[in-house]
Amino acid sequence: MDWFLQQAINGLGLGAIYALIALGYTMVYGVLRFINFAHSDVLMLGAFTALYVAPQIEKVAGAESPVGCVMVFVVAAAVCACIGMLIERLAYRPLRNRPKLAVLITAIGVSLLIEYTAQNEKVFGSAPQPFPKLLSDYEINLGNLVVSSNDILTVGVTIVLLVAMWWIVQKTRVGTAMRAVSYNQQAAALMGVPVDKIISFTFGLGSALAAIAGVLYAMKAPGIEPLMGVQPGLRAFVAAVLGGIGNLPGAVLGGFLLGLLETFAGGIPGLSNYRDAIAFGILILILLLKPAGLLGRSTIEKV
């Protein structure tokens, strides 16, 4: 029983990071109906931003202080929001009225461009770099169970951000505009919604989420390298699809589910080798039974 609960705790800690990344995927998809493959690289850039600004912030706010930690998160999120908007402006906006496939291929191109530029020895270099401790972490013992403070932080941040995103999309003027753009870009433009600005805002928001996920991921596994985003990015994409792409709570649910599946499979002798195969096998099963994802609604394509 202890074993089961401990694995559940581990799975939630990992799943929260997938969930956070999946939120960003799903937001952009919700508005633009396209998968931003560069999302996982923005995550990596977020972690590297934190790596470079943390020593500066430490000088001002002191080592491992909560204030300094929040500042690192804010700076990383802000920098990545700008990078995200820049990517959208330079790579995706010129293709706005082209076939979806062209944008998709461009997204893959942007992703590879960032990865290989970052691997250059003059940029970040491809060897893993030690990530500084932003917050003193400690372990909380509950009987035989161990909960890491980092995992609690990750789960907390994910839930708070999910609520915040839901509130932005459902309750604010910008959110209403986002939903309008998502529903029908042309009609929204005719109603006076600044479509380009709204799309830009969505990318900024999604990229800020990626940056926060990147910093949390780096705190969990403090060796960061330019390809660190690829694996979690792929799994988060799967999580977003699993939950029903375009659906915010669905993305978080999918993320947690994937984290749990992977952790449990990883801890079973003989199966640990197949942890990805098991996780993705279950994904295929769910999609066969519910093609729109767990919380997604199936829509009828207008022809």
Binding site: G13, T263, R275
Partner: protein
């Protein structure tokens, strides 16, 4: 008419011959030696260290007049720590550059990729630090200047039952790495033979960042120690997460741990853990002392690790063989490398046995106060 035909075909043959021979020896005034290494990517410190050692050796030989009256030219290809790249690199070095021998790689998986190509082209290959037994079994042109994992796994098993007095050991293997799987296999055979009990056996994928699933399963099985035959990046993250889960048992592994990154990433989570490796730069032989001094002078005070020492030795063994063979012709060169006996390398005395493996002592290192400290030596 007939004479004309013969002359023209003779000319054609001559042209082909000349162009081929000039292609093979690259002008003839230099001896080309090929090297492939993981200079970038996940295991960049391995490749960089081995390359720096090799480069130092080549530069020293050239300064002292070269071999057979010729200068050596080192051609280095970066395989980016990626599967598939070693084959490209070695193919290019052999068929395009026409190198006389290949030096490389540290990781067994990548050496195993290059070895069949070298064997087929009959170009001798010397691996500095690939320890998987199957590497040199690829053929009679493949050598290594380090011990193999049958020896290392056995020594680790004796260490577990002797020094650590562990009754039950859990094993965590990297399924992506031939090195890791091979070392786990030879460890298991010897440790069971010693009367040890193998606990939970789990796998991970090199490059994973979350290992708590595996570690929790191991923790609930309550072993006395964990055997972790992996590479430094994964090892550091695994030790951090083991510490987070409150596991205080010793973790130990093989020479794949040796890198400064282990300490810079793992920090205090590495405290008290052990690994086996090829040599310690503290060993008091004149060869090692001279090597460390020359390396630090060449690379701005950088402290060499075992991979650098072995990279240096791999090049020196090759140079020694060229001198003895008095030619760079492949069959004679192969025979000369195979005949290497009592060669005083920086890492120790190198004797190549009939399996083309070096028979050498092994060193245990413990991590204390975030430093590698010498523990014991195990002789073959």
């Amino acid at each position: 008419m007939k004479a004309q035909y013969w002359i023209s075909s003779l000319v054609v043959i001559l042209i082909v011959f000349i162009s081929l021979s000039s292609c093979k020896s690259g002008g003839g005034d230099k001896i080309k030696v090929g090297e492939f290494a993981s200079l970038t990517g996940k295991e960049a410190t391995f490749g960089t260290s081995a390359h720096e050692g090799t480069l130092l050796a080549i530069e020293q030989v050239n300064l002292s007049g070269g071999v057979l009256g010729k200068q050596l030219e080192l051609l280095t290809e970066d395989d980016q720590t990626k599967a598939g790249e070693p084959a490209n690199a070695v193919n290019k070095l052999i068929s395009k550059d026409g190198v006389i021998a290949i030096l490389g790689e540290v990781a067994s998986s990548r050496s195993l990729e290059a070895a069949p190509i070298c064997q087929q082209s009959q170009i001798p290959m010397i691996s500095p630090a690939s320890t998987n037994p199957t590497v040199t079994q690829e053929g009679n042109y493949i050598f290594r200047v380090c011990f193999n994992d049958d020896f290392q796994g056995g020594a680790l098993a004796n260490f577990a039952s002797g020094t650590l007095k562990a009754k039950k050991v859990a094993i965590l293997t990297d399924v992506k790495s031939d090195y890791s799987k091979g070392l786990a296999k030879s460890f298991k055979a010897k440790y069971s033979n010693n009367g040890g009990n193998i606990g939970t056996e789990l796998d991970f994928n090199g490059g994973d960042k979350d290992f708590k699933g595996q570690l929790t399963a191991i923790k609930s099985d309550n072993p006395d120690a964990i055997f972790l035959p992996g590479y430094y990046n994964d090892v550091a993250l695994i030790c951090i997460q083991a510490k987070q889960l409150g596991m205080n048992i010793p973790i130990f592994g093989g020479d794949g741990w040796e890198s400064e990154s282990l300490l810079t990433i793992g920090k205090d989570a590495m405290e008290g853990h052990y690994f086996s490796t090829h040599c310690s730069i503290e060993q008091p032989t004149p060869e090692m002392t001279a090597f460390v001094a020359a390396y630090q002078k060449r690379f701005e005070g950088k402290t060499p690790d075992a991979m650098a020492v072995l990279g240096y030795d791999s090049a020196m063994v090759l140079v020694d063989a060229i001198k003895r063979a008095k030619t760079t012709e492949s069959v004679a060169l192969r025979d000369a490398i195979a005949a290497t006996k009592n060669f005083a390398g920086a890492s120790g005395n190198i004797n190549l046995n009939a399996d083309r493996d070096a028979v050498k002592a092994l060193v245990f290192i413990q991590i204390k106060n975030e430093k590698f400290t010498y523990n014991t030596t195990v002789n073959p």
